[in-house]
């Protein structure tokens, strides 16, 4: 019950923060809400950044989930942890907004899926992750919250150029990125958590569906 109340508070704070003015980005800052004048691109140039490193991790039910399971579908991959006070709940909130939009467009979960990987498996138990996912309205048919034991997770994080550094008060510093992976398993865009705009991500996904690329 207490966890549920905390999560509700997080979601509320996330919603409030989404409304504040933009400010300079920090490592693990809250995403900025761009003003109404933000210019979005309907024809983004999404070069092939590289092959997405493969992984197999566990979902909240303990079932193994591999990146290759999503072959043919576009994947948005985020690295989060549930006790993160600002950036992670905010970006998860934005992913939830994007999920609704993609669902309305008939693209989720059939053509686009989300994966959120915890970088804090010691505290993020399967139960914690499941509660977190439910709190944000994640559709389990197409949005997986994954974890693995620290030792097993470390090589996966390294392959994705992710690292973790414990901070005082239980926070974890880590590269604040989301990855957009095309149906052929290639990274086509990397977003900063602090400047992530789900409206542009929607346009990027649509562009990849229309023109899958080389």
């Amino acid at each position: 019950m207490r966890g549920g109340r905390q999560l509700a508070s997080l979601v509320l704070v996330a919603a409030l923060l989404l409304a504040v003015a933009p400010r300079p980005a920090r490592a693990h800052d809250a995403p900025q809400r761009a003003g109404a004048a933000r210019l979005l691109s309907t024809h983004p140039s999404l070069g092939v950044i590289g092959r997405a490193p493969r992984f197999t991790l566990g979902d909240p039910e303990g079932r193994p989930v591999s990146l290759t399971d999503f072959a043919g579908r576009i994947v948005l991959l985020a690295f989060i942890y549930t006790s993160c006070p600002s950036a992670c709940p905010l970006v998860t909130q934005r992913m939830a907004v994007l999920q609704r939009r993609l669902t309305a467009a008939g693209l989720f979960p059939s053509r686009v899926n989300f994966v959120s990987v915890t970088v804090d498996p010691d505290r993020d138990t399967t139960e914690t992750l499941a509660r977190y996912a439910k709190g944000f309205g994640a559709d389990p048919r197409g949005w997986k919250f994954l974890r693995d034991a620290s030792d097993a997770l470390r090589p996966m994080l390294a392959a994705w150029d992710e690292w973790t550094k414990p901070l005082p008060a239980g926070e974890i510093d880590h590269p604040a990125r989301l990855y957009l992976i095309d149906g052929a398993g290639r990274v086509r865009e990397i977003y900063s958590l602090s400047l992530f705009d789900e409206r542009q991500a929607f346009l990027d996904i649509r562009a990849l569906l229309v023109q899958p690329g080389p």
Binding site: V13, L16, L17, V20, A21, P22, R23, P24, A25, R26, A27, H28, Q32, A34, G35, A37, R38, L39, L40, S41, H43, P44, S45, G47, V48, I49, G50, D161, W163, P175, A176, R177, Y179, I190, Y191, S192, L195, Q200
Partner: protein, 403 residues
């Protein structure tokens, strides 16, 4: 309800405060320092090109017994490279550092022990990889680095842009257009999906002593790009050789400034309501200034200009962004060049080498300017790192980064 109001008020305070205390003149994607700086990295050219070039680490932790001294140097393993600029990756774990006369590019790891950076990768021939020569600006994008190049591989225009993964794999390149082939700096304004690049001169010119330069072999354009499309959408004409691109730091602002090196002027650029950009001359810096660098205060109140030829630093009040007003000047020593303002806006480190082919003094140093709450500039009488008496002899100190 009261709790919600309090939360919003607190968030507003946090948002406002972070504007006034933030590192400036870095890509918005770079992780910001959470505490005052402890180390100053100075990218350095061995002055007579007989010893290897290096990255110097200066202790700038006020509480340290080593304060104000070079505590380490990272040997680049070769001489005559002309180390010039460098930049952090988005997560601030690596520094990308290139060269203007050789084709080498170095990636250094700094997070494990910031006092002891180490080279983790050397790209020996960046020209073979990209088709360009002379990487200048190292601009972090999420998980990637965006580099400007001053020339094509043959040393002539066009220059352009190249994107790499953080560990040095080339992703793609973009050549400057035929009608604006010169390149120099880049800065992105993600909020409005715009990127601006500026223009200098290519290798075939800057490799010669200054007296032999063809002053017409340089750019007078800034290019406005659709950032997501990586496509040039507008060309702005300025005085000759617009160098640094500095977007305003104010939330929602869509204007900025550049320094024209040969026009001795500051130019103001801004987005119109229709979405296009305009550029106009906003300040005359005085004949013979040769503004080599342009920096900002974290509160967006001042611009700092280094007059390389007149040996002074000028502070311009940009409370009215399109009408800068000269606020103060200071003389840090001969030929000030690169400046680096701290996150609190109270200190500015200064070096005084521009290019081996342009330097007119053999007296090289790193010095410190204090910036008062009234925006006045004052030299620190004690912080003076002499770069003429290093174990390998004199070295030209150029670009700086803080950790």
């Amino acid at each position: 309800m009261r709790r919600r109001t309090l939360s919003l008020a607190l968030l507003a305070v946090i948002a406002t405060a972070s504007v006034a205390v933030a590192e400036v003149c870095l890509s918005p994607y770079v992780k910001r320092l959470a505490a005052p700086e402890k180390y100053l990295y100075v990218y350095s050219v061995d002055a007579d090109a007989k010893d290897n070039d290096f990255l110097a680490v200066i202790d700038v932790n006020l509480a340290s017994p080593g304060y104000g001294r070079v505590i380490n140097t990272v040997d680049l393993g070769s001489a005559g490279n002309e180390p010039h600029h460098m930049g952090f990756t988005d997560d601030r774990t690596k520094i990308w550092a290139g060269t203007l006369l050789s084709k080498r590019l170095f990636i250094l790891e700094v997070a494990a022990d910031p006092a002891k950076p180490r080279i983790v990768k050397t790209i020996d021939d960046v020209s073979a990889l990209t088709g360009f020569h002379g990487p200048h600006t190292y601009y972090a994008l999420p998980g990637r680095m965006l580099l400007t190049f001053l020339s094509s591989a043959d040393g002539a225009p066009p220059g352009g842009l190249a994107e790499f993964t953080n560990d040095g794999q080339l992703i793609r390149v973009f050549k400057n257009p035929d009608n604006a082939p010169y390149a120099y700096d880049v800065a992105v304004k993600p909020e409005i999906n715009r990127m601006i690049t500026s223009s200098f001169t290519p290798l075939r010119n800057y490799m010669k002593p200054l007296a032999q330069w063809d002053m017409k072999d340089g750019g007078n354009t800034m290019l406005v790009w659709d950032f997501k499309e990586r496509k040039v959408i507008q060309t702005l004409v300025t005085d000759p050789v617009p160098l640094e691109v500095r977007w305003s730091l104010k939330p929602g602002a869509t204007h900025g400034w550049t320094n024209s090196a040969l026009g001795d002027s500051i130019w103001f650029f801004a987005q119109t309501k229709a979405g296009s950009f305009t550029a106009k001359k906003a300040a005359d810096l005085g004949k013979g200034c040769l503004p080599a660098d342009l920096r900002q205060s974290p509160d967006d109140r001042y611009l700092y200009v280094s007059c390389f030829m007149r040996s002074e630093i000028q502070a311009w009040d940009v409370s009215r962004p399109d009408r800068p007003r000269l606020h103060d000047t200071v003389v840090p020593g001969v030929s000030p060049n690169m400046m680096h303002v701290t996150m609190d806006g109270k200190r500015m480190y200064v070096t005084n080498s521009l290019l081996s082919t342009m330097d007119y003094s053999g007296n090289f140093w790193v010095r410190l300017v204090h910036i008062g709450p009234d925006g006045r500039l004052k030299m620190d009488p004690f912080f003076d790192v002499d770069f003429t008496k290093l174990p390998t002899g004199p070295a030209r100190a150029h670009d700086m980064l803080l950790y």
